[in-house]
């Protein structure tokens, strides 16, 4: 088994769902879980097979559109493996947390696996054009998932996300065409393009196209506003994938196509874009501090955390880049967990996401498991040592300190604000003492009495939450688990240009 199988498995899984019996959703769920586990296994296969993280190993290669030099070329290095494993874990967790989807289960999982196909495809692509195709492939499934199974304002949120992604990909499209044609390389292969030294003037205008185009999906300020609306409108599994994987597609593209191919362009735009990233960190955290809707808080926190990933990329230093990849992984796990708790455990049971209403419900007594996992996820999110977030952000800040000390300090402020809003949301959701502060609405009280049983956290949820927490802890306690894969990858020929221009110090 090779990581190529992730694509096959997810695509077949999507098709297979359509043949499940309509009246018995349990078959659809079981198949989905099996598909997700198989894709996780396929994602791990590269690691298990002991593939060299420092080499961009070709997995599948066939001519696709020979006339234009486009190939169906899949390859993987250490960074790819990290992202694949993350996607696999998110896939399994997402299925576990959508066990309660009752409405059109088959269609739900079909789209879910189509979206995953797109995500796996982006991470595996060694051809820029193929990467773009997979990137676009993800747009429609995520739109439909949110627009149909989502909650409040779903149509608005879904359309906003689709249009932002599409605008971003229009920029990327222009950038990719420029890379292949204007430079005279005549190929879309990342390896070929990596060998080519683009002239500085060319990099000056193409780098921002590629970087900003991709970073739209990574939630870069000021193009981040899709994130809170999209995340909060999405059904739990979709918001887990959005925060956990889809935002990483953007950061990953910005790394592979932007920073690695055009380091001089990156150096020219380092300061202005770095400032945007730092503003994103502080702004996201600041806004999260004032939100009343729990999903909006987590949505803005995603903007803030992904700001670290972008800042790490722009620092162009070895520590910064490896920190950025680490942060992508870490936030994928933690962000997914936070959305799972907020969307599945809290919202699906209380039918409210308003902090003011949650305060009165005394949830800590009713759902102790949810409370504990939310506290742990909160710790991980605010960058407590011992969790993955700490290792990642420490790396990023170390890298950023070398390149732009002032922005590193500003981002430090973001971390403090992050701790503040995380403590606030954990406190007000589960541990608010002032139950009488706001009267719970009669509807939600009735709900609570009627569904007293439903408040028990189900087994799939427990498994999913514990799994995610375990991963966050493992990576936090022993970051070399991932760094051993990331750092060698940065030494590979793909980053040749970056090293030549004085980056990766």
């Amino acid at each position: 088994m090779t990581p190529t199988w992730t694509l096959v498995i997810c695509l077949l899984g999507a098709i297979l769902q359509q043949f499940m019996p309509r009246t018995e959703p349990k078959f659809a769920r079981a198949t989905a879980l099996l598909t997700a586990f198989l894709s996780l296994a396929a994602a791990f296969s590269g690691v298990v097979n002991g593939m060299d993280p420092g080499v961009f190993t070709t997995l599948t290669r066939a001519p696709w559109v020979p006339g234009l030099g486009i190939e169906f070329h899949l390859a993987a290095d250490g960074i790819t493996h990290c992202m694949l494993v993350l996607t696999g874990i998110a896939a399994v967790a997402g299925v576990l947390f959508s066990w309660n989807v009752e409405h059109r289960v088959r269609d739900f999982f079909s789209l879910y696996f189509l979206l995953l196909t797109g995500c796996f495809g982006v991470f595996l692509s060694a051809d820029l054009f193929l990467l773009f195709v997979f990137y676009e492939l993800a747009i429609v499934p995520k739109y439909l998932l949110i627009a149909h199974w989502g909650s409040k304002n779903r149509e608005h949120g879904a359309m906003k996300l689709a249009l932002y992604s599409f605008v971003g990909s229009a920029l990327v499209f222009a950038g990719i065409l420029a890379c292949a044609w204007a430079s005279g390389v005549g190929s879309f292969s990342l390896q070929e393009l990596g060998k080519h030294a683009f002239p500085p003037d060319f990099q000056r205008w193409v780098f921002p196209l590629l970087f900003v185009g991709f970073a739209v999906l990574a939630g870069m300020f000021p193009f981040h506003t899709w994130a809170p609306t999209g995340h909060s409108a999405a059904p739990t599994a979709a918001s887990m994938l959005l925060a956990g994987v889809v935002m990483k597609l953007g950061a990953y593209g910005a790394l592979r196509a932007g920073v690695a191919l055009m380091p001089q362009g990156a150096a020219m735009w380092q300061m202005p874009l770095g400032m945007l990233a730092a503003i994103g960190i502080v702004h996201g955290a600041w806004v999260a501090l004032t939100q009343r809707d729990i999903k909006y808080i987590i949505g803005y926190s995603s903007v803030s955390h992904m700001g670290f990933a972008l800042l790490g990329l722009l620092s162009l230093s070895s520590a910064g880049l490896s920190g950025a990849v680490l942060q992508m992984f870490s936030h994928g796990i933690i962000g997914g967990l936070l959305f799972a708790i907020a969307g599945r455990m809290i919202y699906d049971r209380t039918h409210t996401r308003e902090l003011a209403e949650l305060e009165g419900l005394n949830l800590q007594k009713l759902m102790p498991f949810a409370a504990v996992s939310f506290v742990l996820a909160g710790f991980a999110s605010m960058g407590m040592p011992g969790f993955s977030g700490f290792a990642a952000e420490a790396h990023v800040l170390a890298g950023a300190w070398k390149s732009f000390p002032s922005l590193a300090i500003l981002s430090g402020v973001g971390i403090v604000l992050g701790a503040a809003f995380t403590l606030r949301v954990v406190h007000r959701t589960f541990y608010a003492a002032g139950a009488g502060e706001v009267e719970p609405s009669p509807a939600s009280t009735k709900e609570k009495q009627a569904h007293g049983e439903a408040l028990v956290i189900s087994i799939p949820e427990r498994l999913g939450a514990m799994g995610l927490i375990a991963v966050a802890l493992a990576v936090g306690l022993w970051p070399r688990l991932l760094l051993d894969w990331i750092v060698p990858a940065l030494e590979s020929p793909l980053f040749e240009n970056l090293r030549k221009s004085g980056g990766l110090q």
Binding site: V65, P66, L68, V133, L137, I139, E155, A162, L163, A170
Partner: protein
């Protein structure tokens, strides 16, 4: 050899006469639907057998005196035209609208002959004749539903606009002839390139361009389009949207690439150094089409008018490729036109089913299609997303080919760069309205609430055509080289 070069036209014209005779001689007492079915079968068999018997492995043939070019690639294009014509003929069975079935079929086939002529000719008079054969048949076909006021109105509107634009085009051709003394496009190009270009030749090119802009329904010459699409019967509307547009673009690509290439009449669309000529004219028309088409499509509530306005926008994208003015660009425009034609045939077929099902073509009627017919809903999504340019569907590669050809063109790179940028921005707007329909179709709606019984009243043959169109779009989206090499004839 010579006969081989005009075989598709001869077969189709003969079939038109045959159909007319058969219908008049034996079928006048039959019911409308039975007549249609029989004639459809006759046409399909005849064209199918002709296609199978046709030997397609030959060197390109040219009849220089007539400016006639035939090659395997061109023959494939004619085969596509024949197939799309058959599709629109079968689609005419979805509604009942006339007692003159034989005439309807004969006119459609004659229009197809006109369309085929346009693919081969490099002679100005022959081109004009082909265009008139196509247009005159279409005016009648648009107004064929005599019981419907909308149909008559659409026919009249189409005819009046068409008449004026045909006159404009002919005037342009005659000016061009006056300036160069030639009617054959390669010779026109030679004369234009030889000496300083007279202003009268530029005027001729501009007048002719205006006539073309009408045929391809580019803004601001698009006003007939929404009415014609709405008023015509589904079969005729499908023909106008697919065959007519494809053939007009085939001719236009031929004319601009072979005949109007010299810089004197081409002009320049660069912002700094704009010069009059067809490039500047079509750059304006492309911008106007992209803006007007997309914004108007945004506001439509009727599906047919929606298809018409989005078609105006697509004509704009195709013009962007044309302006690049290279061989590659000409093929990319053809590629775009083919995928667009297939998608449009599918969409008009959908509109026919929608009207039969809900009584009107309001876009809101798509709500709940996923529940009623999964197959049709999925095909609808394929058509819409292909038009929106989402991979891996053929429409994505159409846009990709056109835009990359435009960016690669060496003549005036900055002249088209801003057009490509505008098109990319506009395609984001387009995604919005396509996705809205996709979502509506995906949404489940209670059948009881809609007051309708389950099951779609679509003929199986219409479903088969729809399925075939959707399959082609997916197939050519996964293997885009196949269609391109088909068109190149290699």
């Amino acid at each position: 050899m010579v006969a081989r070069a005009v075989l598709p036209e001869i077969c189709t014209a003969f079939l038109a006469l045959l159909v007319l005779t058969v219908d008049l001689a034996w079928l006048t007492t039959w019911s409308e639907s039975a007549r249609k079915t029989l004639l459809c079968v006759v046409c399909t068999l005849a064209l199918g057998i002709a296609w199978i018997l046709l030997d397609r492995n030959w060197e390109p043939v040219a009849i220089p005196t007539l400016g006639w070019m035939a090659s395997p690639g061109v023959t494939c294009l004619k085969g596509l035209i024949a197939a799309l014509t058959l599709g629109s003929l079968w689609l005419s069975r979805e509604s009942s609208f006339t007692k003159h079935v034989g005439e309807y079929f004969a006119l459609t086939l004659l229009a197809a002959v006109g369309a085929m002529i346009l693919c081969s000719t490099q002679h100005l008079i022959l081109a004009f004749t082909g265009l008139e054969l196509l247009s005159l048949s279409l005016y009648v076909l648009t107004a064929f539903h005599k019981d419907r006021a909308l149909s008559a109105e659409a026919g009249l509107k189409y005819f009046l606009f068409g008449g004026v634009s045909a006159a404009t085009m002919l005037y342009g051709f005659s000016l061009l002839h006056g300036a160069t003394g030639e009617l054959l496009l390669p010779k026109v190009a030679m004369k234009l390139a030889a000496g300083p270009v007279e202003p009268i030749a530029v005027m001729g090119v501009l007048f002719a361009s205006a006539g073309f802009a009408f045929k391809i329904s580019a803004a601001p010459f698009h006003l007939w389009t929404p009415d014609a699409y709405q008023g015509a019967t589904p079969g005729s509307a499908a023909f106008i949207a697919s065959v007519s547009k494809l053939a007009s673009f085939a001719l236009l690509a031929q004319v601009t690439w072979v005949g109007w290439n010299p810089a004197g009449v081409a002009g320049n669309a660069s912002l700094g150094s704009a010069k009059p000529g067809w490039i500047a004219f079509f750059a304006f028309a492309a911008t106007a089409s992209i803006v007007i088409g997309n914004l108007a499509a945004l506001a439509q509530s009727g599906f047919r008018r929606f298809i018409a306005y989005s078609g105006v926008a697509h004509a704009g994208y195709m013009l962007v490729g044309l302006i690049a003015n290279t061989q590659d660009a000409a093929y990319s425009v053809l590629y775009y036109a083919v995928t667009y034609a297939i998608g449009s045939l599918g969409l008009i077929a959908m509109s026919a089913i929608l009207e039969n099902r809900r009584g009107s073509d309001a876009i809101s009627g798509f709500a709940g299609w996923m529940r009623e017919s999964r197959f049709l809903a999925v095909c609808l999504m394929v058509f819409l997303l292909s038009q929106a340019g989402i991979p891996p569907l053929a429409g994505f590669f159409a846009k990709f080919y056109v835009f990359s050809a435009a960016l690669k063109s060496h003549g005036a790179p900055h002249g088209v760069f801003w057009l490509v940028a505008a098109s990319l921005v506009a395609s984001c707007v387009a995604l919005y309205y396509y996705l809205r329909i996709v979502r509506a179709a995906f949404e489940a709606r209670d059948l009881a609430e809609a007051g309708q019984a389950p099951g779609m009243p679509a003929l199986w043959i219409t479903r088969a055509w729809i399925g075939a169109c959707a399959l082609l779009l997916v197939w050519w989206g996964c293997f885009p080289d196949k269609l391109l090499s088909l068109l190149r004839g290699s």
